[in-house]
């Protein structure tokens, strides 16, 4: 397999954001829809596959360090994401990564009821929250967690929403407080001044 960074045309030092952007640009360029019906479409599909694999590889590599996606015992949805299978959910995730929510929604909506498991609920929740429909979004995410309680990804999404909800109202009257004029603030400011003075050869507070 080729070096995934080479495939995406970015240096190893690229940030997550840059990786995502490079992937998105390439995926848009090489998306099968652009070449529908053309003779060489099969060749383009190879390229698209390569790009997807490269992106997955980088994601997996980076996720290994930061977030615990591929925990051993639990059935992580991430593994299904990287698996070679061509489920429609994988495509939905790609479309979401590319920002093509409307297309992703079409696939989600056309999923037969029998296949609407935890992952379907989760993806539906994600799409609705991008659309600002939080009441319904949270319902789907909650149901996803209910259907697959061990899944880290769904739990993480739920917790993110809960944190965001809990943050609401925190701004009330916070800006009318007297700022950092409390005892702790005053002391630390004095210590800081003293340290600075000492650096320059002087001394503000003799005893320390």
């Amino acid at each position: 397999m080729k070096d995934p960074y080479q495939v995406l045309g970015i240096p190893r030092s690229a940030s997550d954001e840059e990786v995502k952007r490079a992937y998105r640009n390439l995926a848009r360029k090489w998306h099968p829809d652009n070449y529908a019906g053309q003779a060489q479409a099969a060749g383009y599909e190879e390229i698209m596959k390569e790009i997807n694999e490269a992106y997955d590889a980088i994601q997996k590599e980076r996720a290994g360090g930061g977030r615990e996606y591929s925990g051993g015992g639990t059935q992580s949805s991430y593994s299904s994401y990287t698996s070679a299978g061509t489920t429609s959910f994988e495509q939905v995730r790609r479309l979401i990564a590319e920002g093509r929510y409307a297309d992703a929604k079409l696939i989600i909506d056309s999923t037969p009821p029998a296949d609407r498991g935890a992952e379907w609920n989760y993806l539906m929740g994600c799409l609705l929250s991008y659309a600002g429909q939080y009441y319904d979004a949270m319902r789907y995410i909650e149901i996803a967690c209910y259907l697959d309680p061990a899944n880290e990804e769904y739990r993480e999404a739920k917790m993110r929403m809960q944190r965001r909800g809990a943050d609401y109202g925190n701004v009330y009257r916070t800006n009318t407080d007297a700022g950092d004029c409390d005892v702790c603030g005053t002391c630390s400011t004095l210590i800081c001044c003293d340290t600075c003075c000492e650096c320059m050869g002087g001394d503000l507070i003799r005893c320390c």
């Binding site: 319904d136 995410i141 909650e142 609401y168 109202g169 009330y172």
Partner: protein, 302 residues
């Protein structure tokens, strides 16, 4: 109407609590003048909030004066003096009371229809008086929006966002009514967000009752068998609503940040928006009834 739009009194400054009550009393008085003494029974916290928002947006400087009131004959109470905005609010409140009666009548079956049917002549008469104080097609506009909502409800719409947005539309329309330009859009932004939230609270509040009586409930329609547990809101529904409802309020918080910070009613509106509404949600999710807070006007109908 619903009574969910009220301040968290314990977090108000004493002066703010007093001014809030003065506004409440002022609105009550305005209702007496605009639509008849009996209409004062339909006084609500929701329209007090409406009046506060409109007074801020209009840059009105309300005058506070101690006045006597038949409900509290012993002492004079600080009251907001008559103001066109209060009269307007009173008229809208009456129009909504009538629309609510029609709505209840359409929702109920059999014996439960008696209450709205008995109320109808009264709300119809105050609404007729109110119509003279409102733009000509207000009633029709309200009806049109409620009909749109009722249609989705009859269809058993499983999306709480969808039905709540339709109710939000109605409140957005009411809040923006008679304003223009930027103030109108800010007002309808506030109304829309409050409407969505109120609809959610109401749905959660009525869930057990609606399910028992086989009526439509947007939460039951979406959650199906997961909605209830032992006849009460299931922990899943609670967890879902307690996260998503405040997120839905973020837009409301942003809108209130654009209100004139120097106006006397702005801190009260912010209290309602940031603390009062989440407190109401908490009450509903815990299945508690609103407690009568000491020193606050306690009576509310509709």
């Amino acid at each position: 109407m619903f009574g969910y739009v009220r301040p968290l009194v314990t977090e108000l400054k004493v002066s703010e609590a007093e001014r809030y009550r003065a506004l409440y009393c002022g609105l009550c008085r305005a209702m007496g003048h605009a639509t008849g003494q009996l209409s004062r029974l339909t006084l609500s916290y929701d329209f007090t909030f409406f009046a506060a928002v409109r007074l801020i947006l209009e840059g009105a400087a309300p005058v506070f004066a101690p006045m006597r009131c038949p409900a509290h004959p012993a002492s004079r109470r600080l009251t907001v003096e008559p103001h066109p905005t209060l009269t307007f609010t009173a008229a809208l409140s009456a129009a909504m009371a009538d629309a609510k009666t029609d709505d209840d009548f359409a929702d109920e079956r059999g014996f439960s229809r008696v209450k709205p049917a008995l109320r109808k002549p009264f709300t119809a008469s105050i609404s007729r008086r109110a119509a003279k104080l409102l733009p000509p097609d207000t009633d029709a506009q309200i009806e049109m929006r409620l009909a749109r909502l009722a249609e989705r409800e009859r269809a058993g719409c499983p999306s709480l966002d969808e039905t709540a947005s339709l109710f939000g539309d109605l409140l957005g329309f009411l809040f923006g009514l008679g304003l223009d330009g930027e103030r109108a859009s800010l007002a309808s932004q506030i109304g829309t967000a409050v409407g969505k939230f109120v609809y959610l609270c109401d749905a959660a509040d009525d869930l057990a009752d609606d399910v028992r009586r086989g009526r439509y409930n947007p939460i039951a329609a979406g959650w199906g068998p997961l909605a209830l547990e032992d006849g009460r809101l299931s922990p899943m529904v609670k967890s879902s609503l307690s996260a998503s409802a405040p997120i839905g309020l973020e837009a409301l918080g942003e809108a209130t940040e654009d209100l004139d910070p120097a106006h006397v009613f702005t801190p009260i509106v912010k209290n309602i928006v940031y603390l009062g509404l989440p407190a109401s949600l908490g009450r509903v999710l815990d299945g508690r009834k609103a407690e009568k807070t000491g020193g606050m006007p306690g009576k509310e109908r509709l």
